[in-house]
Structures are given as C-alpha cells and as structure tokens.
C-alpha cells in the first residue's frame, strides 16, 4: 500500500488563514458547490458524475431471483461500492477495508437502502418465488474530495435512469419481455435522497463540498441527507469538533437550500 502524501504545512496554514477571512483556496464561496456534471447513458442505468475533480461512476443492473424467506413480497436492493487504488494512491483493495472506505460505503448504503428510496414491493413478480434484485455498483474513478456527495448523486441518478424489462404475470406464470419486444419500464422510486457534506476546520469555520486539500486538512465532517420533500433521510456526524444543536440546525437549513439545486440538476440530466 502506498502512503498518501499529506499536504504540506504551508498549504494547510494558507488554507486555514484564507478560511478565517472567508475565502476558499479555489475561489468559491463557502457554501458553493463545484460544477456538477451528470452524464447518463448510453446504457440505461449508467451514470457518470463529475463534481469538480471528483469522478464517480454508478451502474444499475437487475436480475430475477428468489426473495428472502422472511420477505416474500419484496424485491432486493443490493449495493456495492469499493474504493480502489485507481482513485487515490492511499486506497488499497486488499486486506481489511480502511476506515474511510467503510464510512463512505456504509453512508451510501444507508442513503439508498435504509431510506427506502426504491420501492421494493413493486419489484415483486411472483410472491415467494420470483422477485427482481436490483444491483447498484459504484466505482470511484477519481478522488478530488467529497466522494460521498458525488456518489449519492450518481447512485440516485442511475436508479432513476435505469429501465428494467417489463413483466406480465398470468396466474402462476411470469413472462419477462425482452427489451426489444416491449419498452422497459422505470423503477418505482419513492424519493430522491441526496447527500450534502460539510467540512469543519475549527471554531465556527465550515465549508460545503470540500475539495481534496480541504478534506485532508479538515478536522471533522458532517453529512446531511435530504430529499425534495424536506425530509431528513440520514445524518452522520462522528467525532471531531463537538457541535451545538443550534449549529446542527443551521447546517440542516443550509443543506435544505442546496438539495433543491442538486435535485434540479439530476432532473435535467435524466430528461436528456
């Protein structure tokens, strides 16, 4: 495993001093996102997201399987995200997953699976026998900071873009139509959760959408996952600087504004 090169003391102090004056190193405002570019297709369910320098690829696929015995009428959503050495030198696929990988993958799993974004009951074909298993694979191509936000946008955009084959159920028989026979149908998505991550650098200094340098310098981070119905789907703040409940509320308010912007971009991208 190659050791990651930490930013130099000069870079760190420059970043912190500029932040004290309210300026970010790349010239953004403290609550500004980098340019978000979402490209969907050519295959249904394949989405690549570029957030500044960060690039994430999400791919959704499906197959027919048996359901879980304790949930015979629900489909299955499987999630897989791995940080490979391709996106940053410090990541290593062999051995135990690093703390960062666990944090990122579990966060995404929580966002997609536990917030129940995908309607699993609509994935049932024949109760107790055949259901759709939807698989989401996330590949991190380039680490330019803020992997979680980029990956959450990619995952939800891919789910909305994906089309599964149409199925007709006739009594006990289920006929799965080929995509050339009948147009494939979209998945039933309840809501669109999107992550917004804040980075903290000490007393009262916080920014939105950290770049790689900011992420390496930050003391702690706080991720809020919201959807367009103003519901909080997940919160994640572990360790680092203790925040007062008032600060948490303020972060959530800021995130609420940002989520609308992000959702709009996702809508635009999918329409194309």
């Amino acid at each position: 495993m190659v050791a990651e090169i930490e930013p130099s003391n000069i870079e760190r102090s420059f970043l912190l001093e500029s932040l004290e004056k309210g300026i970010r190193v790349d010239g953004r405002g403290i609550y500004d996102y980098r340019t978000l570019k979402i490209s969907c297709g050519p295959t249904a369910g394949l989405v690549e997201v570029q957030l500044g320098q960060t690039r994430v690829l999400a791919r959704v696929s499906c197959e027919v399987t048996r359901p879980f015995p304790d949930r015979p009428t629900e489909g299955i959503v499987q999630f897989n995200a791995e940080l490979s050495s391709m996106c940053a030198p410090g990541f290593d696929s062999s051995g135990k997953p690093s703390a960062q990988e666990v944090a990122v993958t579990r966060m995404l799993e929580r966002v997609i699976r536990q917030s129940r974004a995908v309607d699993t009951e609509a994935l049932c074909i024949l109760a107790g026998e055949k259901v759709w298993t939807v698989r989401i694979d996330i590949h991190f191509l380039d680490h330019g900071g803020n992997l979680v936000d980029a990956a959450s946008v990619a995952a939800i955009a891919a789910l909305r873009h994906f089309r599964r084959p149409d199925v007709t159920v006739d009594g006990e028989e289920a006929i799965i139509h080929d995509v050339r026979e009948r147009n494939p149908v979209p998945l039933s998505i309840h809501h669109t959760p999107v992550c917004v991550t804040f980075g903290f650098f000490g007393e009262a200094m916080m920014v939105l959408d950290t770049s790689l340098l900011e992420e390496q310098t930050q003391v702690s981070s706080f991720t809020v996952t919201l959807n367009s119905h103003r519901e909080v789907c997940a919160l994640n703040k572990a360790g680092g600087i203790p925040l007062s409940p008032g600060q948490i509320q303020r972060c959530i308010q800021i995130a609420l504004a940002k989520v609308d912007e992000l959702n709009e971009k996702i809508q635009e991208a999918i329409k194309q």
């Binding site: 997953p97 944090a103 103003r230 572990a238 959530i252």
Partner: protein, 245 residues
C-alpha cells in the same frame, strides 16, 4: 411481517414505557481483572461488556504519533446476542462502522496529547442485542475509560430517540428500531457543554420534526450522565473502603 402497534392510543409502548422514558440502566465499573479499565453496561435488554487497555506502547510502531495517543476500537457482536444464533465475519462493514464511530467520538473526548507515542485500546462486546447498540457501546466505553483513569475532557453520554405516530419517543428498543417506519436517531453529547460529539440518523424524518426529537435525545443523555456518574462514585467508594481496611 405483521405490523405491530408500537405506541398504543393510551401512550404506552410495547414494553410498557411512556414515550419519554428511558429503559432501566444497570452499570458497573471494574468488572474485569486484567484490563486497565472495564465496565458492564445494561440498558433494558441490551448488554455490553467493555475492556480498556492503555495507555500502552503501540503495537504497530509505524502508526504511533509523537505528540498524541492513538485510539483503537474493536467491536464484536456475540453470536448468541440475537434470538437466532448468527456468527458475523470479522470484516463485516456494520461492525467496522460502529467501531469507527466509537473511535472517532472518543478521539475528540480523550485528552490524547497527555499520552504521546502510546495506544489506547477499547474492546467492546455486545452480549445481548435489543436496540441501541451504538448508544450502549459509547456509554459503556465512557465508564470503562473513567475506570482506567484515562484523561478525558468530559463524559460522553449517548442516547437514541425516534418518532412513532407523531410523537418523539426516547430510547428505542429492538422492536421499535427494526420497524421500518421509525426513524432512529443516536446522539452522543459532552454533558457539561451540551455539545454534540456524535449524531447519526437513519430512515426518514421531516426536517421540522427533527429539532423535537434531537432535544428529547439530549435530555435522555443528561439522565444517562447522572447514572454513569453514580456508577463511577460507587466504584470509587468501593475502592476507598477496601483501601482503608
């Protein structure tokens, strides 16, 4: 899965508690002999045993830091902890995540610069699982760290809260936690300042209702702080008695 009624119209939950009642807490420090600090913590039917070793020499030299201690947390769920015996693999992401949360929480609370070039190990074992895994682990670890005599800025007290039928409820048990519609919020605070060290929430909750649930959880944390304090005093008094003979 049948939909269980989690909050009756009279305001009683499945285990007979009201919406803002904590489960019964039983905790004791100094339960293990070899460990520098240990604690046994029970909250309702969830039971955790913690052992703390440290500060001691870092086992992996390359990871030791010259100016502060590193905190290492290992979390294990016993196969007999749930009603169906299930052995989890060591690399299970859920276990690693909880261990990582506990580590990050205590990295902020332990005065690490007091112990340079050393390592503090926290080993957690969940003996019985009935909801509130992360909160009981944090509370038990606080007690064990105090027992080990490790310098900390403050206690770290954690509590869960949820939202059932338009009512914020405190301290979710296993049935409430596994129910799909109940949002599950875990908060860990440093009681003296009231600041939040850990905040984790799953499942959906409308942003306007979040404040109420958060406040309730913080109240619960303060109550747990009193219980932990009592346990520390009890252990200290016990020790003083033994020394005076």
């Amino acid at each position: 899965m049948s939909r269980q009624e989690l909050l009756s119209p009279e305001g009683l939950r499945v285990d007979g508690r009201r919406a803002n009642e904590l489960r019964r807490i039983l905790c004791r420090a100094s339960v293990l002999n070899t460990a520098d600090g240990s604690a046994y913590y029970e909250q309702g039917n969830t039971k955790v045993l913690v052992a703390v070793y440290g500060p001691r020499e870092s086992r992996i030299r390359s990871q030791s830091q010259h100016d502060h201690a590193i905190v290492n947390v290992e979390f294990n769920i016993a196969p007999f902890s749930t009603s169906e015996r299930r052995k989890r693999s060591k690399g299970d992401k859920r276990l690693l995540e909880i261990a990582s949360f506990v580590r990050q929480t205590f990295e902020g609370a332990i005065q690490r610069s007091v112990y340079p070039r050393s390592q503090i190990d926290i080993y957690l074992h969940l003996l019985q699982h009935d909801g509130g895994t992360l909160e009981t682990c944090i509370n038990a670890a606080t007690l064990a760290l105090v027992d080990a005599g490790i310098s900390m800025d403050d206690y770290v007290c954690a509590c869960t809260a949820g939202f059932i039928d338009e009512t914020p409820v405190l301290d979710l048990n296993g049935a409430e936690e596994s129910s799909i519609e109940t949002p599950d919020l875990t908060v860990a605070i440093l009681p003296r300042s009231g600041n939040i060290a850990l905040l984790q929430m799953e499942s959906k909750l409308h942003s306007s209702k979040l404040e109420g649930v958060l406040e309730l959880a913080v109240e619960g944390c303060k109550h747990i702080h009193r219980k932990l304090d009592e346990a520390v005093l009890a252990a200290a008094n016990d020790l003083a008695e033994k020394l005076s003979h």
